[in-house]
């Protein structure tokens, strides 16, 4: 590997001093960019770390080559971004639809799932769960919250040749129970374990065109009236981007 080969001088003069100096300079720059990225992605970044990462544009370099370290480094921190997020579109929702599975079953409503249960485990499943995560992460960023849901809803409806009607897009999360709580043996896919994180009515705005109107739950309305919209499972404005 990296040890000197047998009967080889310790450093074979295959490179001139000038070339070696140039390579060393590039290696230093590369290591500097990596170091800044590491500092930026481990915990809360200070002003200096943020400036190095964004103003000196080391982010350009690492992002361009896919060398960024903003992925699943922690696996879980027990925040909302670390759980599974599943999305679907409930078709032809009636007035006052609350978004729960019981109502869907009772009224025999059809759904289009972003990730059908038959999806293979592995890369395909991770990609679709990743899409759900992005919906969650952006759900509370007003200006972009509807961007991904809009694209997903439009795509799912178009792929199923649905061009009209009123439907509902849902993104749901499951927060795993504490292991000591009764019910930890419940089926992990039990519908009762899911919680809505984003719901929006998908309303036809012409053939094949849709507009999204976010559904605000009663709990959210109460919270906003109290001026305390944050809760323990709200999307985090973390620079780690959440686990994927």
């Amino acid at each position: 590997m990296t040890r000197p080969a047998k009967d080889e001088p310790e450093t074979t003069p295959q490179l001139s001093q000038g070339v070696r100096t140039f390579i060393t300079f590039l290696l230093f720059l590369h290591c500097f960019a990596l170091g800044v990225t590491v500092l930026y992605h481990t915990g809360a970044a200070s002003g200096l770390q943020q400036a190095l990462f964004s103003r000196i544009r080391t982010s350009y370099y690492v992002d361009l080559l896919g060398l960024d370290l903003n992925y699943d480094l922690h696996l879980t921190h027990n925040t909302g971004a670390d759980f599974d997020h599943v999305c679907d579109v409930v078709l032809d929702t009636p007035q006052g639809f609350r978004g729960d599975d019981e109502q869907i079953a009772r009224q025999s409503l059809k759904t289009i799932e972003l990730m059908p249960e038959s999806t293979w485990p592995g890369a395909r499943r991770r990609r679709l769960l990743g899409l759900g995560l992005r919906v969650y992460v952006t759900a509370e960023q007003e200006e972009v919250a509807s961007n991904i849901p809009q694209a997903l809803a439009e795509g799912l409806l178009a792929q199923n040749n649905i061009t009209e009607g009123k439907h509902q897009f849902r993104c749901r999360v499951l927060e795993p129970r504490h292991w000591e709580e009764p019910g930890s043996e419940m089926d992990p896919r039990d519908p009762r374990l899911y919680r809505d994180v984003y719901r929006a009515d998908v309303i036809s705005a012409g053939p094949g065109e849709w507009s999204l109107v976010k559904v605000v739950s009663e709990a959210e309305t109460t919270q906003s009236q109290d001026g305390s919209s944050n809760n323990s499972t709200a999307p985090q404005s973390s620079n780690q981007g959440g686990s994927q």
Partner: protein, 342 residues
């Protein structure tokens, strides 16, 4: 006193320079790159194949990820690297399948080691094309793959275990001058730089993984009783109790908390130990062996099997043919094996 300090600084600079040159510029055997090329090529082919079923659903005319969406979302974070992804230019299903097939051919050529210098760069472009076209779909495995591919571009990844090597050996049979040249190329500085970059990057990743687990998220809003699950010991439970990600139902662990608590601790200790002790030659085989059950078990509970495989492949950068002979009793070198790093 001034002379003493000055002399110390000169010695420090000289020794650092010697160490730096030894670390980066000692020619080495490209064999690990060959092994990594094959393993990484197979992983890339798998990732590429899994896109086949969803290619039109994601990137087609009514795709879930229209180009406008990516451009809107990406521009908020960093500059738009659109130009590196040729996939932005295609929406027609037939065209998408054609470029997808060309990408697959490039990956096959890279895997078998045909014109490796070129196919390695092309394989990187193929991987980056999917990475930049659909950043919402990517996870750690894509970034690990891009990292390895990028560094392998600097080394002779096709110098061993490849079609290139087979063709070169055939030519050397009839061409003594070429045979001598081929023998001289048995070690190279390019291989060292390539392998060292992967090693350094990988050990950084391991250390950051450990530190990220211990440090907690950047922001925890509106709660005073948040507990770091890696400290509390139930992180593995939280992973296993998710409904969609794990490959097997392991919620029976609720009855045996010591299992997931020990597992949680083992993951943290391993990741931090790997980042530090992998540079010790004696500890290296042990850590590489531990990595196998560690990542295999994590694949089961996290559902990120491709990422776990990528981590194992990256670990091959620390593997060498010397390792097998160095610790072989038949070689009689066990007692004299140096404990120095490197």
């Amino acid at each position: 006193m001034g002379a003493l300090v000055g002399n110390y600084l000169i010695v420090l600079a000289t020794r650092f320079g010697q160490g730096w040159n030894r670390f980066w510029y000692t020619p080495s055997d490209p064999y690990p790159l060959g092994v990594m090329r094959i393993a990484l090529g197979l992983l890339l082919l798998y990732l590429h194949a899994t896109y086949t079923f969803d290619l039109v659903a994601f990137f087609g005319p009514n795709g879930l990820i229209p180009t406008e969406l990516v451009e809107t979302m990406r521009s908020r974070v960093t500059f738009n690297p659109t130009y590196l992804s040729y996939l932005y230019a295609f929406q027609d299903p037939t065209a998408l399948y054609v470029v997808h097939a060309i990408g697959a051919i490039i990956l096959v050529l890279f895997t078998i080691g045909f014109k490796s210098r070129w196919t390695c760069v092309l394989a990187l472009l193929v991987s980056l094309a999917y990475y930049h076209r659909a950043p919402f779909l990517t996870s750690g495995v894509e970034q690990m793959s891009c990292m390895m591919l990028f560094y392998m571009c600097f080394g002779p990844c096709g110098a061993t275990l490849s079609v290139d090597r087979w063709l070169a050996l055939r030519r050397a049979e009839n061409d003594p001058i070429f045979a001598r040249k081929l023998e001289q190329q048995s070690t190279s500085i390019g291989a060292t730089i390539s392998i060292r970059l992967i090693q350094v990057h990988l050990s950084i990743i391991y250390l950051v993984m450990g530190v990220a687990k211990l440090s907690g998220p950047a922001v925890v809003t509106g709660t005073g009783d948040w507990v770091n699950p890696w400290h509390a010991g139930h992180a593995v439970w939280l992973l296993a109790a998710r409904p969609e990600s794990p490959w097997f139902d392991l919620t029976w662990m609720a009855h045996s908390p010591y299992i997931f608590q020990g597992w949680t601790m083992a993951i943290m200790v391993f990741e931090i130990a790997f980042g530090v002790f992998i540079w010790n030659r004696l500890a290296r085989p042990l850590l590489l062996l531990f990595a196998i059950p560690m990542w295999c078990s994590l694949a089961l509970i996290s559902g990120t099997a491709p990422f776990c495989v990528a981590m194992l492949i990256a670990g091959l950068a620390f593997f060498s043919r010397d390792m097998l002979t160095e610790f072989s009793p038949a070689e009689g070198r066990l007692e004299t094996a140096p404990a120095a790093s490197g």
